[in-house]
């Protein structure tokens, strides 16, 4: 004789009973705490309309860390200003007046990497006497780049 099994009703979990004063799952329920109303939040951002504005400031900045020279080690990222002139992207390290440029940001980064390694090696060449400005440039380079062992 066939027996009919009544379907077990699905009871939604009681979240109120999950967290109690005696601990999770203790079975001791407490009344929900009614929180005081919170003041309306101030907006965390503002929108600026940049369309049609002219600015001498760089569009953005990036941190350079891809020194393409196995003999050199970068101690900290180099801050670069990014600007666009015509169809070319220019990356400028203002502190030492060094730059790299290219058809796009990636090409400009490669160009800058080459520039900075060539500059480093030249300023550290034996027998080269440097003027005050290039000594300053070399000093700043030494804060960012060192020779490997």
């Amino acid at each position: 004789m066939a027996t009919t099994i009544e379907p077990t009703p699905v009871i939604p979990p009681s979240y109120r009973g999950e967290v109690t004063a005696a601990g999770v799952g203790s079975g001791v329920l407490v009344s929900p705490v009614i929180l005081p109303p919170t003041p309306p939040m101030e907006p965390q951002f503002r929108l600026f309309n940049l369309v049609g504005t002219e600015s001498a400031r760089p569009e953005r900045e990036i941190s350079f860390g891809a020194l393409q020279d196995p003999s050199l080690r970068l101690l900290k990222p180099i801050p670069l200003e990014v600007s666009v002139e015509g169809t070319d992207v220019i990356l400028t390290w203002a502190e030492v007046d060094e730059f790299g440029c290219g058809d796009n940001t990636s090409a400009a980064i490669d160009d800058f990497a080459q520039s900075i390694r060539e500059l480093y090696h030249h300023l550290h060449s034996e027998g080269v006497q440097l003027g005050s400005d290039l000594l300053r440039v070399r000093g700043i380079l030494d804060q960012y780049i060192v020779r490997r062992g």
Binding site: D97, G131, S132, D133
Partner: protein, 90 residues
């Protein structure tokens, strides 16, 4: 600024040049390297005027004077001395 103007200024100032990934130019005054600049290879390559002027310690007008011959090498050296890039002769 284009590559030809850059090369004209480099030649006029008698800068030492070296070619690696870039065309580098170094101004050596009394045995001391005082100024450096560079451009990419290729005549049609973009030459960023503002950045190169900063490396040469001149403004755009002075750079124009350098390649149009209204600003001589001697005047440029005097300008670098005034800016403290070259030590005053004793």
């Amino acid at each position: 600024m284009n590559a030809r103007e850059f090369d004209t200024v480099v030649k006029k100032l008698g800068m030492e040049t070296s070619d690696t990934k870039h065309h580098h130019a170094w101004l050596v005054h009394n045995g001391v390297t005082v100024v450096r600049t560079k451009r990419s290879h290729g005549k049609a390559k973009f030459v960023p005027e503002r950045q190169i002027c900063k490396q040469l310690h001149v403004d755009a007008t002075q750079f124009t004077g350098l390649y149009s011959c209204s600003f001589s090498k001697d005047e440029y050296i005097t300008h670098l001395i005034a800016k403290g890039i070259i030590s005053k002769p004793t």
